[in-house]
Amino acid sequence: MKNKYLFGGFIIVLFLGFMVYLFTQSNIKYESNFDKVMKEEKIVRATGSWVREKNYVLDTQNRVFSFYMADENGHEMKVVYNGSMPNNFESAKSVVVTGEYKDGFFHASSILTKCPSKYEGQSTQDVKTSNL
């Protein structure tokens, strides 16, 4: 009778352990405080808004797009993204960037722009990628 619990228990414990490990390794926290973003040594998802006054730089040759982002408290950080400017970037009310803060700026691997308009409800734009 114990075989059932032995096998089932073994698999569950094994995978749950593996899962907890991977989860703590690869989970991405949403962070709206840039002080914390800068201290964090893992990949985070920083939410804030584009600092319009500081403009953006689009280097078409090297496909680098960079801009400044501010959090709720007005803390700013520079964001650098390897790719082209996302659609709707200029009209975006809020920006969600996923990446890591290193060497004085935020290395974004993806940018999500949200364009809430009081007339059309909220719409989001994202570049979706699949790994399979």
Binding site: I11, L16, L22, S26, I28, V57, N87
Partner: protein
Amino acid sequence: MIGSLILTLALASSIVAMVMYYMSYRGYNNALYYGRIAYHVMAMLVIVAAAMLEYLLLTHQYSFKYVYEYSSNELSTGILMASFWGGQEGSFMLWLFLTTIIGLILQSYTSKRGDLEHRVMAVFTLATSFILLMVSPLFKNPFVYLWSEPIFIGIKSINPSLAHLPFLQSFLFSDSSSNQEFVKVNSDLVRLLSTNGISIKQLVINGRGLNPQLTNFWMQIHPPILFTGFSMSTVPFCFAMAAMMKNDYKDWVKQSFPWLLAASGILGLGIMLGGYWAYEMLGWGGYWAWDPVENSSLIPWLVGVAGIHTLLVQKKSQNKGEGIGKFAKTNLILMLLMYILVVYSTFLTRSGVLGDASVHSFVDPGTIVYLFLIIFVGTFVVLGFGTLIYRWKYLSLHTKSDEGILSRELSLFTAAIVLCTSAAIILVGTSAPIFGHSVDAKFYSSMHIPIAIIIGLLNGLSLLLKWRTTKKEDLIKRSVFSISASVIVTVLIVLFGGMTDVLMMILTLTTTFALIVNLEIAIKIIKGNKKMLGAYVAHIGIAVFLLGVISSSVYSREKDIDLVKNVPQDAFGYKMVFTGYQSIDNNTKYAFNIKCTNGKKDFVVSPVMYISDYNNGLMREPAIFNMLTKDFYISPLGYDDGSQNQTQGQEISLGVGDKTNFDGAVITYKNFIAPKDMSVMMSGGDFQLGAELSIEKNGKTYNEQALMKKDGRDIQFIPIEIKDANLKIQLQKIDPSTQKANLIFAKITGDNSSASTPKEVLTIQASTKPFINLVWTGTLIMVFGFFISVSRRLKESFL
């Protein structure tokens, strides 16, 4: 109004049916008759309501909010019909409609099998009552009028002959950022209109339309199939409850078996069609992105499939006279969980909790709906597991469990546990956003490699093992062929395919092992009773599917390529030439033609891009060239017609007073050079404007003007070249209202490309997907296997 009334009446009938069926269960025998009548009345009302919603959509009745928000005059009939389930309210209606139909079949099914009906239907009508409550006027009613809440309607949807009405002007709004005009429709406007003898139908003559990602063939079949699967998974829950209510665990196993198989088969088909849709139309570059919405349909499927395996054991063990059979508790738990997870996945995708995490979750529906969904899930959890706890002692006393190490029972149980583990992992990952976290796709993929390895192993091993116990010598004798054959095949794949990842090699080994074992058995019995084939066919399907996953992911190659018009480029053995684009679909979309050749075959692929009116977003559709052994997959990334970007370099956007650095120079935007006469510019005459810049480099300061000149029809940007500073500056864009200027900076030397003529560049992501066809054929074979089993188990359910 009539629609809401019908749905309210249906809700009342559903509650009456539930009460009557429950009374009948408690011994009031004549209540059964009223229960049946009430259920059929409810079913009729639901069918009428669904037909009404479809009619409103087909006849463009924009006075209804749902019709306005999810359809438009431009949609083709097929898509228009599918816009029924384009939004939240409608997809609840679809779920309700399909559940109701399933209920009709279930009522007839249970009425022919003993005293099953009242218990099963009492629980089933609880489920229909909840969905009916969801679409009732309290929550997500699809029959709400347009003006029920103030709504801004784009001027494009307004009848132009009425737009000049004087009283309408105070309802006009304009959005300065997008330059669009809107009419605010609320009850005041409707009242004003009706006093002037105008109906809202005359004012609003077009709808907002359907999200362009949904306007395609797959929208017409994927949601109905998926929701049929969801609806059918209600049934095993009801059977489990019915068994616990009577405290009799014998018959429910064979009675619910065909339902569980059919539900899993259809749900699996629906999930796969969704994956194919994503692959073919949405250009994600693959068929599975571990998106929360995809995940939340996969979780109940995995639990259902786990249940199939343990339910089979209980059935076998009952046939051998072992009382209520083995794994009685496991089966009850799994059957309860399957439906609870369907409801939970509805909660995840509809309550707005996923917010930022998913691209295609619905928008926030408000706190009341959120709470209602929690109550919906909570009720079924409490009811299901409460009853189970109540019966636990009895069940523990009457369940036999003495599985030998080498028994089929134990290996099937282990398989079920592995499937549930997979479900649990996906559940944790998908639910993480509720707690402010989110996981990477890597989390799911690295967890699932070992799971797939075990599944492959058990898939083969469990069939080599006998029920109860197997002698070691027997097992060795029976597995010699399959093990040696799979080792040989794997070695060949590794050697010829150049596989390097050890885990992938093990996965290939266990998968081919499963495939060979199943093929061996299938060939043996194909001459005999073909009805017995179901399980083997399904297992062959899953093995083929896994092989497809391995080959299409491990051997997939991917590359971003800039295709300059008429300049050939090489990638993955193909020579590609971008030959130009043409407009398609009544000039709404653009197809970009790429001529490909690999020496033997010539073909043209045409990915599509367009700006959608719906959301002003850039839409991209991939192009796929299908071959037997692989797909050549091209996702468009962007297109540059070359007219603006003559200068290669760095683009920087500046406001007056801003400073920037480029190549050691400090550039200051000192002043905006305004046109001398604003009115000339407004009237379309010639003018010039620009930015006055000061450039400091190597201790020298240069004052320059970057200008834009309009001369007749031409607009010219005049570049600045400062040879001493090795710097070239050109205005790209300047906005007179904000005075913001976009400037392109480049070095004069070392930048030859800037001198050339305008270039049209199409940027694409090209990839190869070897043997991706195995993914599709594998799933189809698996689904086919499910249905062979359904027909066999349906016959047994009468016994």
